[in-house]
């Protein structure tokens, strides 16, 4: 009796906003599908954590090597109490944000320059192609020699990665702008600056947003690798330190915090994208 009641209640809730019973049924179907995906995702996560925790307690896996959720939790609490985890996270986020912003702005400006001057875009093309295919991480040790073993090197590391990606993506976006749109605005007598402002830049916003999303990830890679190499603070430093002194609780905690931070940063950029692309809906 109560079971039927519950199902009916659920159906009513899922079908909310339906204009007809059929529409309500349709809405309920779609929402139920979404709910199922979401619930399964959550279950997977919980199962993973449970398996990890229980497996470690039963010695199916060795918590000295793999750590375990409860230890990670306690390590986090301990580090939260003396705020050290926030300090390290803060530094990594700061470095990432700085290189992300500088990389995006400088990269876009260079892309504009390349679009503006056909001659220089042809001259610089092979250099960009080669830089793009070079693993920039290999340059890390050199940056340390050039710039010292501080934040400067780390940011430069991340910047080299993000700037090249931005140039390539944004410039490609510029070139893919429909030439007929440019022809149209030229019939109104637009000059080159107006073509850039009114057509090329706005038409490339979706590409630029995609570049931003890629860039967050890229900057993060650069910063973490930089921290592996030189840092005395930051999540990358914590991971390396935890590994070196064989405190895997510390290393794992840092990895978990790193994952969450990356997810948050990505979501922030995604929000930004939604703001700029309202006309797409």
């Amino acid at each position: 009796m109560w079971k039927e009641h519950l199902v009916a209640k659920l159906k009513q809730h899922l079908g909310k906003g339906g204009v007809t019973p059929e529409h309500a049924h349709y809405l309920a179907q779609i929402r139920l599908g979404k709910l199922a995906v979401w619930a399964t995702q959550l279950t997977l996560l919980i199962a993973l954590i449970l398996f990890w925790e229980v497996g470690a307690n039963m010695r199916l896996i060795d918590p000295f090597i793999t750590s375990q959720p409860s230890s990670i939790y306690h390590t986090f609490l301990r580090m939260a109490k003396d705020s050290s985890i926030f300090l390290h996270t803060g530094i990594t986020v700061l470095e990432t944000t700085l290189s992300f912003i500088i990389g995006t702005i400088a990269g876009s400006l260079i892309a504009v320059f390349l679009w503006w001057s056909d001659f220089f875009s042809r001259v610089l093309d092979p250099y960009i192609v080669i830089l793009n295919s070079t693993p920039k991480i290999a340059l890390g040790p050199l940056f340390i020699v050039f710039l010292g073993d501080g934040m400067k090197s780390i940011i430069t590391m991340a910047l080299t990665i993000s700037i090249i990606v931005t140039i390539v993506m944004v410039y490609t976006g510029f070139r893919e702008v429909d030439p007929n749109k440019i022809k149209l605005i030229r019939t109104f007598g637009a000059n080159k600056l107006q073509i850039l402002q009114k057509v090329v830049l706005p038409a490339s916003v979706p590409t630029m947003m995609a570049a931003l999303k890629v860039n967050v990830g890229m900057s993060f890679v650069g910063v973490i690798v930089g921290e592996f190499l030189v840092a005395r603070a930051g999540l990358g430093y914590l991971i390396v330190y935890g590994q070196q002194v064989f405190q895997l609780h510390l290393a794992m905690t840092s990895v978990v915090v790193l994952i969450i931070t990356a997810a948050v940063l990505y979501q922030l950029v995604a929000c930004l994208e939604n703001r700029f692309l309202r006309w797409k809906e």
Binding site: D178, N180, K181, K183, L184, I185, R186, T187, F188, G189, A190, Q194, K198, V199, P202, A203, V205, W279, K280
Partner: protein, 263 residues
């Protein structure tokens, strides 16, 4: 007073240079178009019809010969001209209203008085309640109508229409042809329409010019007159002269599809 044609094309040649060689696009074209005249240009595809429009608009310079507008060579992209392309090319990130303001923005004319005019155009074309919509929310006919208002907003004296109805379905095309012809006639605009649709040309224009296949030359020049006077395109299609003009132009075009024997 000497008679100055609105658009005068004198012995124009256009040659395209490519690495593979030279293409003669237009050869020895001379045309003179009166103010307020509605002229259609028809010809086989690739004959340089659109090139002719680019030439008049000043986007393209002739290899030799000259183009005169009101007796003077056009300076850059002249503000006397409005250009409508085959597709609407509305900017999807701008609302209907913002799209219409584009030309005015470029020309620095988006003043208050102009805005009133744009409001009137929007109302006249039944787009007022859609002014805050984005292009993807509109039907094909509405989009092309927005493109037309965008062109008219800058108040051009000469309109260059490059197959503006080609991408529309048949019903919408007939309706829009009617609307456009009526409105442009009433505003006494000089119109040059490029089309491959003979019936569209005969129905809408005062004059139909046939261009030969590449290199494009003026092959024939028909004055279209109806005993009943100037009618809306939809009505002219029913007039007795319509079929006659259609057949004459069809013969001049000398179209034969590859593979079929030509008479």
């Amino acid at each position: 007073m000497a008679f100055i044609p609105k658009v005068q094309i004198e012995k124009v040649n256009i040659k395209y240079q490519t690495l593979d060689g030279e293409t003669n696009a237009l050869e020895d074209i001379s045309l003179s178009i009166r103010e307020g005249e509605f002229v259609s240009i028809v010809g086989p595809s690739g004959c340089g019809k659109s090139t002719l429009l680019s030439l008049i608009s000043g986007l393209l310079k002739p290899t030799s010969g000259q183009v005169l507008i009101d007796g003077k060579p056009p300076q850059g992209s002249s503000q006397k001209l409005g250009y409508m392309l085959q597709q609407d090319y509305l900017f999807e990130w701008r609302t209907v209203y913002k799209n219409i303001m584009l030309g005015l923005e470029i020309q620095g004319k988006n003043k208050h008085s102009v805005k009133n005019k744009v409001h009137n155009l929007l109302k006249q074309y039944g787009l007022w309640s859609f002014r805050h919509y984005y292009p993807h929310q509109l039907s094909g006919g509405m989009r092309q109508r927005v493109a037309l208002i965008r062109t008219l907003a800058v108040d051009p004296e000469i309109l260059l229409l490059d197959e503006p109805f080609a991408a529309l379905d048949y019903q919408t095309r007939l309706t829009l042809e009617d609307e456009v012809a009526t409105i442009l006639k009433r505003a006494n605009k000089t119109v040059i329409l490029v089309t491959h649709d003979i019936s569209e040309a005969v129905a809408m224009s005062d004059r139909v010019i046939v261009i030969s296949k590449r290199p494009g030359r003026v092959k024939a020049d028909f004055k279209i007159e109806y005993a009943a006077g100037r009618l809306a395109p939809f009505e002219t299609r029913k007039a007795p002269e319509f079929r006659n003009y259609f057949n004459c132009i069809w013969k001049e075009l000398d179209i034969h599809v590859e593979g079929t024997p030509s008479g």
